[in-house]
Symmetry: C2
Subunit: 420 residues, 2 copies
């Protein structure tokens, strides 16, 4: 007897439909082409519901239905639902320590077109960075197919970002403090859309979980090396962002508190001070001679050729990286630990030392199943994470979001208004 | 047009009603007596729905409705909904390093009656522990009011527990490995109910979040000191338990990897090796003379009286505890860090050192708002967490769970079957 009254506070039919539309679109966005039968199974809905939902998304131009490739099995094959990568795109931006990247990314996650610029390592002010990225973004939007719609804008930034508004609170490698990066980039692009901004390692964790080495691993730790070391940690599939959005600063774990190397944050003995670029080049005796990602690769190559100092430098990195990873495994009991950025280059040569620390110091039950790996998305991990931010509003509420999107420059440039 | 079909995959009216009943019961269980008006506001439902839900819970004997105390305001006052603490209880058990505790806890969280035994520090086997606790539990159940119903059984254990089945995987302080504690305690109690088992620090975190110093703080870290240091970490209000349930082992963060004291886990330089009981007593020159909680309090008192070795021992604890807390704040950006168990006694005398480490090493944005505190539930934090486990099934589905509960011994002992 209480049922109908109690039901008033529950979800309305409209909310349920919106949720289902979003879930269906997210599944084909993440997994690619899926048959109606597969969608029905994954979503726990019947096929006729899937057909209705698909028809709505297709009418909006978000997906299309196709006959599947020949299966060789008898019977009428289930139609395959595919996202529309050319018609619906996001713009993704990546402010990394050594480069600025922008890309037009199709629904489904494929990078359709990109622009990239090498960036000086410090002293670049906000207006310069925004100027370059906004120029790239306008070009990429203008080059989209006629009728294409920009679903959203996402950016990855190599520093601490306030969740609420994309304010860069602390970006030590560019010397930025409290800079309104998200708002200024949105202004510069002039697309009438906000820019969602995330920390690069947070976004890297999401990208590797969505389409990389961490698919299916809901407890995942991503370590992103550039000059320093950032972290993205998923707990039960959700990003750990803490009380203010500043969680996961694993580069500033104090691994060597009383005898450590100075850190850019003002402290000493932070993980990033012991395993970052400066430590490696200094210990290898190559400071002032080698720089950046190329410098790191050169030291790794030298160690491989038997250079003793380079070898000892890598051992130092391995020992301290191992301490950091031990702590993370004991704290988080993750299924997988992923190394990205310059740690992609460093991990293979230090893996034995990292592993031996884990064997010595991680509690047995937590090391039973943990997997260590480098990124599957190579150096596009953070950019792909920014693309996921760009699509987040669309995937939460596909039809409403699409309706609210202004025509993209590509569309208005190529044909008169109302001509589609 | 798609609405009704899409709705099929959504929640049924029955599921919505069950969820609302559980939420209402949880609110009065956690917050105590609440007016219908307050419940309507908190749950976003209208008053007539609240009235219907309350009537169902009252008919089942889970809550009662009362006139509120005189408010002095005009108008008809909203009836107040109160949990039934005597009629519906849980049994909570706590296997701590130095004691065994059992309690009958009323719905609403009040401890109604308890039994406690001092426990030798090591070499106690599973059967002894289960024998003592099962005896306590049977006495407590038999002493319940006639007609009272036992809603569930929860236990806190000072070691690593497998989430799925209450198996103690690793309990270094008792020398337990892979012991079926939960199943054996359930057998010994003979109440026909399973025992939910959790790690003591995980449960402590939940208890302090539910009714202690962390109410409203969804990002919370709880450090529990006994011989070692355990941790419970809430991320967005949810316990971090990792891929296998073994997360939060913050006592085994490697804070002093190359120069550290030996740890019971076989490693060196773990946080608990540097700040645990043994380190304190050893550094204070009191090993073999003082022991356990009393010994720790004695060292704290000696330091207060100007004993130089005791003072230096506390400084050592403060320095390394500070390193651990720095790492946790940089990783988790918590709103509050809570010290429990023997760390309740140690924290006040080490707070200045801990704070100075935080000031030196935590990134400014993460230390903006973080609060440090000792437990509000004193030494009952872990026991209260076990009680929350005991009530978890009831709060998830009140009416079904109650129906499935067998009569408690108290009820059958006092009156013939069918006599209620």
């Amino acid at each position: 007897m209480a049922d109908s009254r109690a039901g008033r506070g529950g979800r309305t039919q409209e909310e349920i439909r919106q949720r289902h539309l979003g879930e269906l679109l997210r599944r084909v966005h993440v997994e690619g082409a899926l048959s109606r039968a597969a969608l029905a199974g994954r979503m726990g809905l019947n096929r006729s519901t899937i057909m209705t939902l698909t028809a709505e998304l297709a009418a909006a131009g978000l997906v299309r239905e196709e006959k599947p490739a020949e299966t060789g099995r008898a019977g009428r094959p289930s139609l395959v639902v595919t996202p529309e990568p050319e018609r619906v795109f996001g713009l993704a931006f990546d402010v990394a320590v050594d480069r600025l990247v922008a890309a037009r990314v199709g629904l489904g996650g494929r990078i359709l077109e990109r622009r990239e610029a090498v960036r000086p390592r410090a002293g670049v002010d906000l207006d310069d960075v925004v100027g370059v990225l906004a120029g790239f973004g306008r070009e990429l939007a203008a080059a989209a197919a006629p009728g294409a719609v920009c679903a959203g804008l996402g950016a990855s930034y190599c520093g601490m970002v306030r969740r609420a508004d994309g304010m860069v609170r602390y970006g030590p490698h560019l010397g930025w403090v409290d800079q309104a990066f998200g708002a200024k980039l949105a202004d510069g692009l002039g697309l009438g859309l906000p820019v969602e901004v995330g920390n690069e390692a947070h976004l890297g964790a999401i990208a590797e979980h969505t389409r990389g080495v961490g698919v299916g691993a809901d407890d995942l730790i991503y370590l992103h090396g550039d000059v320093g070391v950032g972290g993205g940690i998923l707990v039960g599939g959700k990003l750990l962002d803490g009380d203010g959005g500043y969680g996961c600063e694993l580069g500033h774990m104090l691994v060597n508190p009383f005898d450590g190397r100075p850190c850019l944050c003002g402290s000493r003995g932070c993980l990033e001070a012991e395993v970052g670029e400066e430590a490696l080049l200094d210990l290898a005796g190559r400071s002032g001679e080698l720089f950046g990602r190329d410098g790191i690769r050169a030291v790794v190559a030298l160690a491989g050729q038997g250079d003793a100092r380079a070898g000892r430098a890598l051992d130092h990195i391995g020992d301290w990286l191992g301490v950091g990873v031990v702590n993370l495994i004991n704290l988080f009991n993750p299924a997988v630990v992923v190394f990205g950025g310059m740690l992609r280059d460093l991990y293979p040569g230090t893996a034995a030392r990292v592993r031996s620390r884990i064997d010595a110091h991680v509690l047995p039950v937590s090391r039973e199943r943990v997997r260590l790996a480098t990124t599957a998305l190579a150096d596009d991990t953070t950019l792909q994470g920014a693309a996921e931010l760009a699509f987040s509003a669309l995937l939460a509420d596909p039809l409403e979001t699409l309706t609210a999107r202004p025509p993209s420059p590509g569309r208005t440039a190529d044909r008169p208004r109302g001509g589609s």
